[in-house]
């Protein structure tokens, strides 16, 4: 298989996904199959072929720096798992 179980655990950690042992084993098989299939791209000669990041030209249109209304704070805070005094209450980055 393309992926070892350690690699699956490493990817899951990078992606911040907790997996059960069952999921780890299942995804190892499934992801390996998909990556094996995707490996056929390696045989394609892409010398001097530029990558396509977007089918449209990537220029960022600008606008005048004018203040515009955006959503009301209370409306957004209503979806916070924890909110205090109009602020998001979040877990500390450094415990």
């Amino acid at each position: 298989m393309s992926l070892t179980i350690e690699e699956v655990r490493h990817i899951a950690q990078l992606a911040r996904l907790s997996l059960t042992a069952d999921e780890e084993a299942r995804y190892q098989v499934q992801l390996s199959a998909i990556l094996d299939y995707a490996a056929r791209l390696r045989a394609v000669d892409t010398t001097a072929i530029p990558p396509t990041a977007s089918v449209l030209p990537l220029d960022a249109p600008l606008r005048p720096d004018e203040v515009r209304p955006s959503a009301a704070g209370a409306q957004i805070l209503a979806h916070a798992p924890e909110a205090t005094d109009g602020m998001f209450r979040i877990p500390p980055v450094f415990p």
Binding site: R16, A38, I49, P51, H79, P81
Partner: protein, 490 residues
């Protein structure tokens, strides 16, 4: 007493304008059908009967005012019930994207595409079921339940816009909005026997669309015919300053003609007729191509040599983009939060518990393809091959005006058929993925039915911004055939 829900969108529109019936009556007819049929279909994840009737009453007032002064323009869409795929935000309605990680989310704003329909007086009935974060080809990946195909309840409606397709096919509404990142409008339209349009990348604003693969995502529509779909397309298309990838090209008026397609060059790519595809699907598509020939189009053989690379390219690029787009769902500031330990533990637990398996697979695929040491071989190479696939289309459109091909290798498959084999599910998308990689528009419409009575459909693709050509051709076909008039027995 005419069955209002059985009317076409244009018939309903004419009836409203003539005062033959009201938007409230039309909306009630749809609500009655939803109440009667949607328990078995599960096309809608959210319906707002009171909200819909309130919008209908406003539309009736607009229609009354218009009848007194008909010189004022009034959108054809005024008073017409429409459904919205649950990846598009509508203020006042929940938006789940088929995911538990967005459970309870009420968007503080409305997507531009939906707002344009609201401004045109359409009645938003509710939100339709979708594969989670639009990742899927069957709507089986919704965390809220599976949508059933109205033609055969044991089969999938397709995905990821399966709810929208089922709702239109079952007459629960007259049109629906969907999104198409790898085929998610065209394939469910094909499985449900209706007309579905993937728009050119950048043609319709993505503001308010919950992002999956940002270089591939498009917003489009579904209806029971090209003629019905046209006003929906014209209303949602066009530049939006809120979407920096939206094209500034104007949206031309389209007057649908019938009949003569002389001068139209249609290419049929041999790479889209593969071993293992359902024989009746191939037959149905080829017969439809002959119908285009009888209408005067010239048909030619075409090569799109990199077609078979579209699948591996898509299943590296889309997951890579998804892994970035879905990184925001972390339980820190918004949404449900899981885990009792430190910050890392809460990230892991929130995302682990609330994302479904397909989403987790794609996030991991994308993370791997972008990770140090693998980026060049996987993601980098996929981007280069994407250029080759786009060049195939650029070359083809120098020789032909439209490309004709199947939408899917088979008709609608059974619920559970692809079991635990994601790759076999991905192979359903082989004919739809290339258009997303190239950014070109495509329209799917029914051209027959198989021995099990399931719809067989075909697809036309055009160069970017070529939607008018798609509508002309599809409408010409629908003017001389009746497949789009078939209705599932419900």
């Amino acid at each position: 007493m005419i069955d209002l829900a059985a009317l076409s969108l244009l018939e309903a529109s004419h009836g409203l304008r003539a005062g033959a019936f009201s938007s409230v009556e039309l909306t009630r007819a749809c609500l009655e059908r939803i109440q009667r049929l949607d328990a078995a279909l599960f096309a809608f994840v959210f319906v707002s009967p009171e909200g819909a009737l309130q919008q209908a009453r406003r539309a009736d007032q607009a229609l009354t005012r218009w009848r007194k002064a008909p010189s004022h323009a009034l959108s054809l869409l005024t008073g017409i019930p429409v459904a919205v795929k649950d990846v598009l935000c509508v203020q006042g309605m929940p938006a789940t994207a088929g995911s538990r990680i967005l459970e309870g989310f009420l968007p503080p704003y409305t997507a531009t595409s939906v707002q344009r329909l609201i401004d045109a007086g359409m009645v938003i009935m509710g939100k339709t079921n979708t594969d989670e974060f639009a990742m899927g080809s069957s709507t089986e990946n919704s965390s809220y339940g599976v949508t059933h195909n109205p033609w055969d309840l044991s089969r999938v409606p397709g995905g990821s816009s399966g709810g929208s397709a089922a709702a239109v096919a079952a007459g629960l509404c007259f049109a629906a909005l969907g999104s198409d990142t790898g085929g998610s409008i065209r394939q469910p339209a094909a499985f449900c026997g209706i007309t579905g349009l993937k728009t050119s990348y950048g043609r319709v604003s993505r503001y308010g669309l919950i992002a999956y693969g940002s270089s591939l995502d498009t917003v489009g529509g579904l209806a029971r015919s090209a003629a019905d779909l046209l006003p929906v397309y014209q209303t949602i298309a066009g530049h939006d300053p809120l979407d920096s990838t939206s094209l500034s090209a104007s949206v031309p008026d389209v007057n649908l003609q019938t009949g003569d397609l002389r001068g139209l060059r249609i290419g049929v790519p041999r790479e889209y007729f593969i071993d293992g595809m359902q024989a009746s699907v191939e037959r149905g598509v080829r017969q439809a191509v002959e119908a285009f020939r009888s209408l005067g189009a010239s048909i030619q053989d075409l090569r799109l040599p990199h077609t078979d690379l579209a699948l591996p390219v898509y299943y590296l690029i889309a997951p890579a983009e998804a892994s970035a787009n879905l990184a925001r769902y972390d339980g820190v500031r918004l949404g449900p939060r899981r885990g009792k330990g430190d910050l890392l533990d809460q990230f892991l637990e929130t995302r682990g518990a609330l994302f479904g398996p397909e989403v987790k697979r794609r996030i991991m695929l994308g993370t791997y393809a972008l990770s140090a040491g693998y980026y060049d071989a996987y993601y980098g190479q996929a981007q280069k091959v994407r250029t080759l696939i786009k060049q195939d289309f650029d070359d083809a459109f120098r020789q032909v005006d439209l490309i004709a091909c199947p939408v899917t290798p088979t008709t609608a498959f059974g619920i559970g058929q692809h079991g635990d084999d994601p790759l076999s599910m991905y192979l359903e998308d082989v004919f739809t993925l290339p258009a997303n990689l190239a950014g070109v528009p495509g329209i799917a419409f029914p051209v027959g039915s198989d021995d099990a009575g399931l719809p067989i459909s075909m697809q036309l693709m055009a160069p970017s911004l070529g939607e008018a050509g798609l509508f002309h051709a599809a409408h010409a076909y629908q003017s001389v055939t009746a497949w789009h008039k078939e209705r599932p027995a419900l």
